[in-house]
């Protein structure tokens, strides 16, 4: 096992990893920008190294500084968390060549899954259903129109290098196609330096359902059930839960088996998530694979009892998984609300100082955060300040528990999305589980 791990991240996920390390008897090194000198991850790590100014490009994304910090502190492994360098294949490569273990999949796996078109092909080969669409990049508008007619409108145009909704266009009818195609290409070029796009059938009321997997060096690959992440706004997840109301035992096994087959087909190692779109008839289609620990991993931990971060560290150290597929049972229900420092209606960021802070507690409540009273939320990074996770025997009880936990959660000094979460979970459609990725548009569209 590693003696010392460097955490190349900040905020709650850095703290989450430090917690896992402490419980495993592993020393930790925090890296931080000058803006984060007072952060909890800096305080609770055994050592800390300031790696640069506030701008991410010069600190949390600055590979030479991070490798250098690992070298001067004799860290044997680096946990990248999520975001920043977590899905950067060349960072994983640099770690390997510097003799530092990257806690995650191989650079090859990151590269393969980071390329959406190749990932689709890989999924198809592994027998995972994919949305009907262009097989790879489509450059000519005429070909794209012809294909869209064949698929039937609506269709969606997506950037090959895409993410976060950029370079993405839904086309409801043929007359709108030409301009949307050009827009998607130029957006893709502007955002990713690559204008390649592809076209797919568009599902009108889709659910976003993802399957957690983890694999060790022996190739033992286990699925840990699904997460329902349909409550999103502009492709940013707001509420996640496990299990999904729409997924029953047989479907869970089917999706899990496919996720495992895909991971095995590329000799995937460590934790990963396979995202699916599901239509009203419970047909599911591969969307993409995320080659990192995810923000919403706690809901899976709550319903399976597995500590995913500890398992990541175990398998990175070459140890076998501490459980088998047969031992994974999904019990109870867990919900996570992402609390952001944002205006709850307009969603504009609200950085500033937290003047009063009271996290909720009591049975079945978990708060993953790096916030505290007098904490200054810097304007340089993302706006998430806390993940509020509840666990209960049933979904109904979990919603009630979430409601009272949101009431107890006091954050003053900045605006937060707590009131928005209260509204969402009070919606009858949320309570009955009648949700899709269109939920926020339907109930929370802000008049322009």
């Amino acid at each position: 096992m590693f003696k010392k791990i460097l955490i190349a991240n900040r905020g709650e996920i850095a703290l989450r990893i430090i917690r896992a390390c402490k419980e495993m008897g592993i020393k930790t090194v925090a890296v931080h920008s000058t803006a984060d000198a007072h952060s909890l991850h800096v305080r609770f790590a055994d050592q800390s190294v300031c790696i640069g100014p506030p701008k991410s490009a010069d600190s949390y994304l600055h590979v030479p500084s991070i490798i250098s910090a690992a070298e001067i502190t004799d860290a044997e492994a680096i946990h990248p968390g999520y975001g920043f360098l977590a899905e950067n294949a060349s960072f994983a490569e640099v770690c390997n060549s510097a003799g530092i273990k990257f806690i995650g999949p191989s650079p090859e796996s990151i590269k393969l899954m980071g390329d959406k078109a190749r990932a689709r092909e890989t999924a198809k080969k592994a027998g995972v259903p994919i949305l009907p669409g262009s097989e790879g990049v489509i450059t000519e508008e005429a070909d794209a129109v012809a294909l869209s007619r064949e698929l039937g409108f609506p269709v969606i145009i997506k950037a090959v290098a895409g993410g976060g909704g950029k370079g993405m266009r839904v086309v409801m009818e043929e007359s709108e196609f030409a301009s949307a195609f050009v827009m998607a290409q130029s957006e893709a070029l502007a955002a990713f330096g690559n204008a390649d796009v592809y076209v797919e059938k568009y599902i009108t009321m889709p659910r976003h359902i993802e399957v957690q997997i983890i694999a060790d060096d022996k190739g033992t690959t286990v699925s840990l059930g699904e997460r329902e992440c349909s409550i999103q706004r502009r492709h940013q997840k707001l509420i996640e839960e496990a299990p999904s109301v729409i997924v029953d035992g047989p479907l869970r096994k089917q999706m899990g088996d496919m996720a495992v087959a895909l991971a095995r087909s590329v000799k995937y190692r460590n934790a990963g998530t396979i995202e699916f779109l599901m239509d009203e008839n419970r047909n599911f289609y591969f969307m993409e694979m995320n080659t990192r620990i995810q923000v919403e991993h706690p809901v899976t931990e709550m319903v399976t009892g597995v500590d995913l971060v500890k398992e990541q560290i175990r398998v990175a150290a070459g140890l076998p998984l501490s459980f088998t597929q047969d031992e994974i049972k999904v019990t109870g229900h867990s919900i996570e609300c992402r609390v952001n420092a944002e205006d709850p209606e307009k969603f504009t960021p609200s950085p500033g100082t937290i003047t009063a802070y009271n996290p909720p507690g009591g049975p079945g409540v978990r708060v993953d955060t790096a916030a505290y009273t007098q904490y200054v939320i810097p304007p340089f990074y993302d706006s998430m300040i806390a993940k509020l996770i509840v666990y209960a025997a049933t979904r109904e009880e979990a919603i009630l528990r979430m409601n009272r936990a949101l009431d107890e959660f006091i954050i003053e000094g900045v605006k937060t999305t707590i009131p928005m979460h209260k509204r969402i979970i009070a919606e009858p459609d949320f309570q009955t589980g009648n949700i899709s990725t269109k939920f926020m548009e339907r109930y929370f569209s802000v008049p322009k």
């Binding site: 190294v49 300031c50 030479p64 250098s68 070298e71």
Partner: protein, 158 residues
């Protein structure tokens, strides 16, 4: 440049978005910076190295969170300049173990003169003096790790 002019400059800087201003006139150089050079990290956890390597709190960040209130313009650092590490790495005072240090306390250095080396990812990075003047303090022991923004030398400008 007299005191009145300096005060006027400070007032002017206060009312603008400019965070740093450098003026050179008839051999006198003045640098004004908003909200910089204030130590504001009280109890930072330290790196655990041998006793000599106490990591000083980071100083002198011009890019402070926009949400913090700006401090009074500081003209104080004029008489002493702290040379801080621009990178994370290992600090060396000479180009190789059998060579003498680049500079000793008491030496007079020119602007741009090499003060030390910081090794990061097997690359030797020469750190140059930001000011001409006298080296009054060497703050890090040879061979010790340094972090971004850590003060390395204090220089009294000539």
């Amino acid at each position: 440049m007299n005191l009145k002019e300096l005060k006027e400059l400070i007032e002017m800087l206060k009312n603008t978005d400019i965070s740093e201003l450098e003026i050179e006139r008839s051999g006198v150089k003045v640098r004004l910076r908003k909200g910089g050079d204030v130590t504001f990290h009280p109890a930072m956890p330290r790196m655990e190295y041998p006793p000599a390597a106490i990591i000083a709190p980071t100083v002198s960040e011009p890019e402070r969170p926009a949400v913090e209130k700006p401090q009074a313009p500081a003209a104080a650092p004029l008489n002493q300049v702290k040379v801080t590490s621009p990178i994370v790495g290992t600090f060396y005072r000479s180009s190789s173990p059998d060579k003498p240090p680049y500079v000793e306390v008491g030496d007079t250095v020119k602007k741009g003169q090499v003060l030390c080396i910081i090794e990061a990812m097997k690359l030797m990075n020469e750190i140059e003096s930001e000011a001409a003047g006298k080296v009054v303090q060497a703050l890090v022991e040879n061979g010790q790790p340094v972090e971004y923004g850590q003060p390395l030398f204090t220089i009294e400008p000539a």
